[in-house]
Every structure is written in C-alpha cells, then in structure tokens.
Amino acid sequence: MDEFENAMLHQVLSVPELLEEVYPDVEPQVRYVMTTPEIYSVKKVVLTGCGDGYAACLTAKRTFEKFLQIPIEVVEPLSLSRYYQMKWVGESPCDPLVIAFSNSGRVTRVVEAVKRMRLHKAMTIAVTSNPDSPLAKTAEKVIIPSIPKFENAPGIRSYAVLQMVVYLLAVRMGEVRLKYTMEQANMYRRELKCLPKEFLNNADRICALALEAAKQFKEAGSAEMIGCGADYGTAWYAHEKMYEAVGLPAVYSDSENWFHVNYFARDIKQILTMVFASKEDEAHSRTCELIERLNQMGRDFILITDDESLQAKYRFLMPASDTCLFQPVAAYMVPALIAGYLTVLREETYSRGFEGIWKEEKGMYSTTVSETVLMD
C-alpha cells in the first residue's frame, strides 16, 4: 500500500487526534459565544459558507432542526448577499442568527453576505481560523478554531473542525433551550469527538477497501454522490472533493431526485456512484429503494451506511451512534480516502496545482478576488 500513500490519506488518519487536540479550545468558544438570553432570542438560524463550509452547514441542518425546533436555512453566500429577502431580517433581537463558515475568512462572497446581514441587524457569528481575516472583522461574534498545521491537501482536517464547531453550536443551543438534559448534551459532545476514532478503529481494512474501490473507478468520467437529510451534506462534500482533488466532474443528489435524473445515465461503468445511507434517516426507505434499483441494474457502487442489512460491492460500515444526525462526522472520510487514492492512480495534482489555466495571477477573479456589492 506504500505506493498509494498520499496527503489526503494522512489527513484522514490524523483526524481523531486532531479533534482531541482542538476540542478543549473550541468547546469553550462555542459555549460562551452567545449568552443565554441571546440563545433564547433566536427564532431562525441561517447557516452559510462556501465549499467545505457549505457542506458542513448542510450536514448540520437536520441537527439544528431537531434540537431547536425552529426554522433553519442553509443559504449559499451569493443568495444571502444578493437575493435574500430582508423584510423580516432584524425585526427582533438575534433574528435571524447567521452563522458563517470560512476557514480562511477571506472568501469575498461570505464576507459580503455577513456584512449585509449585520447591516440589517441580524446576529452574525463567523467561524474562521484567521482572527485577522475580513470575515472575523465583519461578523459581530467570532469562533476561531486553531487548527495545527499539517501536510497540505484539499480540506479534510479543516472540514473536520468546521463540522465539529457547527454541531457543537447546535448541541449547545439545544442544551440551553432545555431540549434535553446536560448529560445528554455531554453525551452528544463525546460522540462528536469519538465517532471518527471509532470508524478508524479498522483503518487498515477501510483503507484497503477504499483503494480497491478507487482502482475499480480509476477511469471514471464522472461521479454521483447520493444522500438524504444529514447525508445530503456529506454527498455535497464528496462531490466537492472529486472536483478539487481529482478534477473529476461530480454531482450530488438525494435519493428521490436520483430516480428522476441520474437514473438515465448511459455509460454506467464510467460513473463512480457513492451512496450515503443512515439507518435512522427519515428518507432511509427511499435510499433502500435506490440501492435495490442499483443492484437490479447491475451497477457497482460504494455504500457508506450504518445499516448492516444493506449490501454493496464496496460497503463501509459506520459505527453505531446515538443519533443518525452525527453520521456525517465520520462518513466524509470515505470519499476523502477514495479521492486521495484516485489522485495517485490518475497521477493528478490537488487543485491542478494552481498551474496552467488554474493559475491565479494578479487581477484574475477568484474566491477571494471579487467585487463586493452590497444590496439593500
């Protein structure tokens, strides 16, 4: 397996230790970022971010909904900054609560969205590793996770920490709003820290299976990532890694839309299909129907699930957890591993090395170079 060692593999394997290391720093920041009256004032939560940040928001949306039982929106920064209806923004204190994720804190669109929301008196919290970033300076409150440096690779460690922060925020708000006991809240916190470690207890076997899957799909021309509920966020993350790490066009979909759209793909041998199926998810029955259909069509696919009754050629079993809401904190490791192996097999460079046509020279537009437009 040595010839297939890669930076993404190393990042994945380092996640359990990373989470143990950052937790004592991150948890108090989450605990104290909002006062109890502020937490009680929140009537709606808007989660936003780009790339990994957006994926983290999607995975945590269901957790916020279940724990807080108030409207939760995941809104792309472009929508938030240019299209979002502001009529009801800022009508009452902390309403809505906007939580924006950007590890670098320099993504123009996220800063623009937070600026607009803050101007309209929404409560804004930024989650960024850079305390001097434009995002940190724009938001009213900031959570600054300190992520130790590591071998460079498309976001895995930073994603793990962003994801932990967003879930911890949901747990904290639910705890303060007395939706469950403190003991239950602390159990949730322990699970968030421990699930990745539990998943990687069989790291050798998991890596071997991931490599085997990557070898089968080495020549894939595209990828499709399927998930529902919290798994939809993991599907989004997975599709993003295929682009970023492998340069492979990918789509993400839920189980229902797969039947309407992806179902009709022609060259099925050229498609890397990954299905995320949490047993307790409300749409699990539809995902099971999708899996049965895939098997009937003779399609090989990669399955990430905690449901032992489901079968697939490449099946990654997730550790049992108290709630399916937390499956994403370990499930993303599978697409990260496979993407890492694919880059080796295809002799690809992460982010195309930012060379050639991907080279960002002065004056070129990018995620951090873009005109800021403040809408009313």
Partner: protein, 134 residues
C-alpha cells in the same frame, strides 16, 4: 462507617430516602449516635417533609420554583438556565442533614420522611450516609 445510596431522579423529582437511610442505621448496629446524610451535588438538596400526601412534595417543588424561577438572565451561563437556578436552590435549602440515632433507630417524627429534591433532572444521583456512634 460510610454508605452510598444511588438512585435515578426525574425532572423536579422528590425522591424518598427514608427507608434506605434506616437500613444504613440497622446495618451499622449503632445504638446511639449521629447520622449525617450528605449529597455531593450542587443542583439538588435534602429535606424533611411529611410523607402522608405525595402532593405535598409537589407543593414544595412548586414553591421553590416560584421563589427561584428558571430565568434566562442568571449570571451563571456556563450550563443551562435550569442548572443556574438549581445552584441557587441547592444553596438555600442545603446539601446535608443530621439526624439522631437512639435505641438503634433513626429518630424521626411520626410524619417525617427524608427526601432528595432534584432541581436539574433527570439525573443519576447519590447520597452519602455517615454514622458516628456516641
């Protein structure tokens, strides 16, 4: 001797401990002395109340809650509003009580029972009993 009584509580629970504490006295064999019941919690308390009507226990919790309502603006915000209120309740009512052992029995009035008051439940709780012979 030191004994530990473990039990589970419900939200706003009033848990009777009289029988378990009496068992500690019997087990000790002490004929005359002092018994101290002590809880190692900061959001619960011990009290003595009449055991005849369980609704009377609910009155106690209702009145405590009326005197110290759970509110969102406690200065202590590390945990939850219920926890913050629980600390105040515990301080005012107290985590320990002392009793007299006489003739090998716990000295209690004909209506008296010993109760654990839960202010931040449900939880797993414990009560320690220390018997000091005369």
């Amino acid at each position: 001797m030191l004994e530990r009584i473990q039990f589970q509580t419900t939200k706003d629970g009033v848990i009777p401990l009289t029988d378990q504490i009496k068992e500690c006295v019997e087990k000790s064999g002490v004929k005359s002395g002092i018994l101290c019941a002590f809880i190692t919690h900061t959001t619960a308390a011990l009290t003595v109340n009449s055991f005849w009507d369980p609704l009377g226990h609910e009155d106690i919790q209702d009145e405590i809650r009326r005197l110290i309502p759970t509110r969102v603006d406690f200065k202590h915000q590390h945990d939850t509003p219920e926890d913050a209120a629980g600390h105040v309740k515990c301080t005012l009512i107290g985590p320990s009580m002392s009793f007299i052992i006489d003739d090998g029995k716990l000295l209690l009035g004909h209506s008296q029972g010993i109760y654990f008051l839960e202010f931040d439940g449900p939880r797993n709780r414990e009560c320690y009993v220390k018997i000091v012979p005369e």
